[in-house]
Amino acid sequence: MTTRDFEPVGRGGPFRPLSSTAVWRLASFVLVFGAWEFAGRVPISPAFPTFGATMAALFQMTLDGSMGRAYLSTLQPLLIGLLISGVFGILAGVAMGLSRLFEFFVAPVFIVLQAAPVAALIPLITFIYGIGLTAKVIAVCILAAPVIVLNSYKAVRNASPSLIEMCRAFQGSRVQVIAKIILPDASPLIFAGLRLGIAAGFIGVVLAELLITPTGIGDLITYHRSVADYAEMYAAIFSIVAFAAITVSSLQKLETMVFRPEKKEG
């Protein structure tokens, strides 16, 4: 069955039908959560909670404020790290795109960082930056920055040559070429890099909270695991996965709306 098969259903009826994408999405959620509930009821392991128990724990943790407090703590290194990676990452990427010399010196660092298994680098961060907020911010940065930098760099480097040529033909200065042609042309790809960087930042902050010192969501996961409150542990994991997924998909929607209106869903 293809998505087309869904299209005629309900067309012209009194209710506005769900789009075929929405139906598939809903079906996939039902399928995954249903499988989770089933696996918990079998159970595949006595330590594996059902979906229902996990959601009840999530509700309870939201009500008693422990989830809110954890997010306040987790968001701190995440936002600082993303702000630094965003500002400096885009600047560095644009500079690399514009200057071959800068590219020669800086690009290899980010290419290596992007390929490196960062979880293995985190213990090294603690040797240099200790175990506090700085170390966690650095963990977010080393995960988020490479993708932001490299996307910005590629975006600038691949800006349309014919547009640049046109600007020059109209006597545009170097500053005008950058400000009026290269940056606007590169902005969709830069924004896509920023979105991917934010997704990587989530990985960084959770890794840091699990591997450096347990705070925020990392603390909820570690603590509930140590006292065998597995529903609460999975609730914490579920919440951060859902939070990251919603954030990133909202950014994707924003990106489509602002930069690629032609791809907007109908």
């Binding site: 392991s45 006595p46 330590a47 603690t126 200790g130 175990i131 010192t213 347990p214 603390d219 570690t222 603590y223 695991r225 140590s226 006292v227 065998a228 409150d229 597995y230």
Partner: protein
């Protein structure tokens, strides 16, 4: 059409039969060799355990040890049936998840040392209203400090969490923290490097289990001989070490254990075992009902056990049959 359906059906059926056979095979809890899940890397501190395993191997018990990153993951391996025996104190797991698992041998008692920077503190009372650093939320070190605060009649401003004795010792040396609790090797390191800068606060009567062996009841009941041999050898090695800590070095040599241990760590072996034996870290009777009651009290304070500790039943957590048998054979101490 029928031919086509059959050509699809046959391979699919084949795969399903194979899958079913695999599942059927992996179902019995007992598999040879005995799979032990150890929640730490092999180090000087685990030599006693490794010696006991070697001795059990000499009595025809096949053993396969896997070293995990943490005790929690090792416990999951046992719960999931991927390992037969685990090392740790999974009280919370047993009570909350009601996993069919029981502990059967106390390997060590908690031995941690509260240590303070003498520039700021000289005794327990000075810690009233101050910050204290422990391993993690819900950990044994946190429970020890809550217990001591209660005993000393003090209240900490807050307990902070920094996992790893060596990390806390490093932070003490750098001056980032002023009061913490560490294990024996790191206490020695601090006293050696810091001299008068650090002092250990007196603490007595905290004897809860640090590590114990546990297995599924199914494994314990269906492999009595294996479990008996293991418990007998553990008891023998523990008693030998308590008599003469040098026993560890001789046995390490005999079995070629930790062959790649760095030369600078070798001199640490005897002092570690001498001191641990002296402080009673290695029980000569494998635990038993008294030790379990102490555990109930301690782990209730730690938040690992819920409810009144006096109402908890030993048989819901421990399987003491093999230990009884071994003590009858080797003598009670």
């Amino acid at each position: 059409m029928f031919e086509k359906a059959r050509s699809i059906f046959l391979p699919v059926a084949g795969v399903l039969v194979l899958l079913a056979a695999t599942i059927g095979q992996s179902a019995p809890a007992q598999a040879k060799p005995v799979r032990i899940a150890f929640g730490d890397i092999a180090s000087v501190e685990s030599l006693n355990f490794l010696i006991a395993l070697e001795r059990a191997k000499e009595r025809s018990v096949e053993i396969d040890v896997t070293f995990f990153k943490s005790e929690d993951i090792a416990a999951q391996a046992v719960v999931g049936g991927h390992a037969d025996i685990g090392v740790g104190t999974p009280y919370a797991l047993l009570q909350k998840v009601k996993a069919p698992i029981r502990m059967f041998f106390q390997l060590s008692a908690l031995r941690f040392y509260p240590i303070v920077n003498t520039e700021y503190y000289k005794g327990w009372k000075d810690l009233d209203g101050e910050e204290f650093v422990v391993h993690s939320r819900g950990s044994g070190t946190e429970a020890i400090m809550n217990l001591m605060a209660k005993r000393e009649g003090i209240t900490f401003k807050r307990l902070s969490y920094v996992p790893g004795s060596e990390v806390r010792a490093g932070a003490m040396l750098q001056g980032n923290i002023r009061a913490t609790i560490v294990d024996a090797p790191n206490r020695n390191l601090l006293l050696e490097k810091g001299g008068d800068k650090f002092m250990v606060l007196p603490m007595e009567g905290v004897d809860a289990s640090d590590e114990a062996l546990y297995a599924s009841t199914d494994f314990l009941e269906s492999n009595p001989e294996t479990v008996d041999i293991l418990v007998e050898e553990l008891l023998t090695v523990w008693r030998e070490i308590n008599k003469d800590p040098d026993y560890v070095t001789a046995q390490r040599k005999k079995y070629g254990l930790l062959a790649d241990l760095p030369a600078e760590l070798e001199p640490e072996i005897i002092p570690y075992f001498t001191e641990s034996a002296k402080s009673g870290a290695f029980p000569v009777n494998g635990g038993g009902p008294e030790a379990v009651k102490t555990d109930f009290e301690f782990y209730a304070i730690a938040g690992q056990l819920q409810g009144n500790p006096t109402s908890l039943k030993i048989e819901d957590f421990w399987y003491l049959g093999p230990l009884d048998k071994a003590q009858n054979k080797l003598g009670r101490m």
